[in-house]
Symmetry: C2
Subunit: 294 residues, 2 copies
DNA sequence: TGAGAAACATGAGATTTACTCAACACCGTT
DNA sequence: AACGGTGTTGAGTAAATCTCATGTTTCTCA
């Protein structure tokens, strides 16, 4: 392993100009440098690469082999270099997003549709975080952006606020609790609560509302899909607690009613986490801007 | 254009071992060297290639692009290097033969058939020299070996003797001239002479036999193919002068007779000319040996 | 055929590049 | 808090690759 791209570039220039002097000029080196270079190659391979007694300079079979290699390899290298420059300028990249909350998918999907139009060269993907820890995955480079509602201090990660949300109780429009302006934990003691199928710790309604008050709902039912949860609620099978962005359209239809939870509402702020080194990248910033504008 | 194969080899080693220290060991350099190398790459491309806070070391999209390049390029390079080593050892090569005399084809064809079995990796080809000068073509690398009957001194070409031959008059077995033991120029004055369609200067029968004696045959007829010439002679359309190797089999059939020309016979020696630098190559020497043994 | 031009080769010295060494910083363990 | 493992950094050194000056070869044209 001695051959370097420099050699291939020289060889190709010599081949194309048909003489050392012109090739040297093109490569911005002296003719002597090229001569030495070729000699060292011939030395290494123990075979002449050019027929010296011929004008224009002609290749031996060994030389032809190297030219062939150069013709295959150099365009690939140039292509890759261009790609890399574009990566550096943020025109090319990967945006694998991890979401930990199922409901986020509801606002993320339309945002990504618009995003894809603006950044067709960015490879976009979503991973719903059930089986893996989002922040470690971000550190390891498995994903490039994490949607999270609790930012943490970290030297290598950076969080950006997206928007505030409020978790609301959703129930049929004719449900008895619609008479209350605000819901108290005890109000849910007699209800069937429909949730996403994840650990209770990760559901605000338990960790921040029911558990502090020591209240347990009459029953808990689970469903993966937001639309199914809404359907179950609408048909009177139970109540659910969902973020407001999910409910805006559903409420307008008139079949469902929503109420805030607790005296000040169950509020939070969504954040996007990215690796600090990449924070300023154009295509990441643009995703964040789009997510905020929603 | 800054990237070198060295970088790709390093990157691949790092990727495969998952850490700088082990990669350095594999490449027989210090870990520090690798660190510097990567840093200079990241500097050049203005983009990080690795995520530092991860074990095993993980690539950024930019790094992935380079690894992809390495995976494409390095095998090609290695393949070419192997080929070149084989070219140097003479296991791989090209043998384009130029022949100036049509009749040479008769002995060359069977020689090449055997040769191809011994050297399947050598690309063999024959060019009958009508429209080009054989020795300049050899110097320029258009052909690799020239069959010639008159060796010349040259600093860059080397001639090797193959075998002696004698040009003989060939005629029908019942031709009046068969009564002569040897043929004199004047004997051909009344005959139709059948030759290959080339300049008279290049036909021994003219340049070395008839012209010195100032004799012109009654008629001259031309044919490309040795077998056609023999057919014409056998059917009494004329006589021909051909090298002995062509006539050995034909004579045995009994329909043709041959006689030497002039007091000492029209003799010569065939030579193989190659570029001096390649003279010692195994596959060329073996061709010469095969040609002699014929 | 021989003088001159053009083109490649060569050797020595300079420059640049890449490497090693040694000290340091960081992280995760124990 | 100390330690092992790992990557980073800066300075100094070694090696490679260049340039410059000159030599050699080849080709051209009178």
């Amino acid at each position: 392993m001695f051959l370097e791209l420099r050699h291939l570039r020289s060889l190709l220039a010599i081949r194309e100009t048909g003489n050392l002097a012109r090739a040297a000029e093109r490569l911005h080196v002296t003719q002597s440098a090229l001569s030495h270079q070729i000699k060292s190659l011939e030395n290494y391979f123990e075979a002449p690469l050019f027929l010296r007694n011929s004008k224009p300079l002609r290749l031996t079979p060994a030389g032809e082999k190297l030219i062939e290699l150069a013709r295959q390899v150099l365009p690939l290298v140039e292509g890759a270099e261009n790609d890399l420059k574009r990566v550096a300028r943020g025109e090319l990249g990967r945006l694998h997003i991890a979401i930990e909350c199922h409901a986020c998918f509801e606002w993320l999907a339309p945002v990504l549709n618009r995003y894809r139009q603006q950044w067709p060269q960015i490879e976009v993907d979503i991973r719903v975080g059930v089986s893996f820890e989002a922040l470690p995955a971000l550190r390891k480079g498995e994903v490039d952006l994490v949607i999270s509602s609790d930012p943490v201090k970290s030297s290598d990660l950076q969080f950006a606020e997206l928007f505030d949300y409020e978790a609301l109780l959703v129930m049929p429009a004719d449900h008895p609790l619609t008479r209350r302006k605000r819901i108290q934990p005890a109000d849910l003691a007699g209800e069937t609560l429909i949730t996403y199928p994840v650990n209770r710790q990760r559901l605000d309604v338990f960790s921040r509302f029911l558990q502090p008050a020591g209240v347990e709902p009459a029953a808990v039912r689970q469903s993966e899909l937001t639309s199914v949860i809404l359907l179950l609620v609408a048909s009177g099978r139970g109540v659910a607690v969902l973020p407001d962005w999910v409910l805006r359209e559903a409420e307008q239809a008139g079949t469902l009613a929503t109420r805030p939870l607790g005296p000040r509402g169950l509020k939070g702020t969504l954040h996007a986490a990215v690796r600090r080194a990449e924070f300023d990248t154009a295509y990441l910033q643009d995703f964040i801007a789009l997510a905020r504008g929603c």
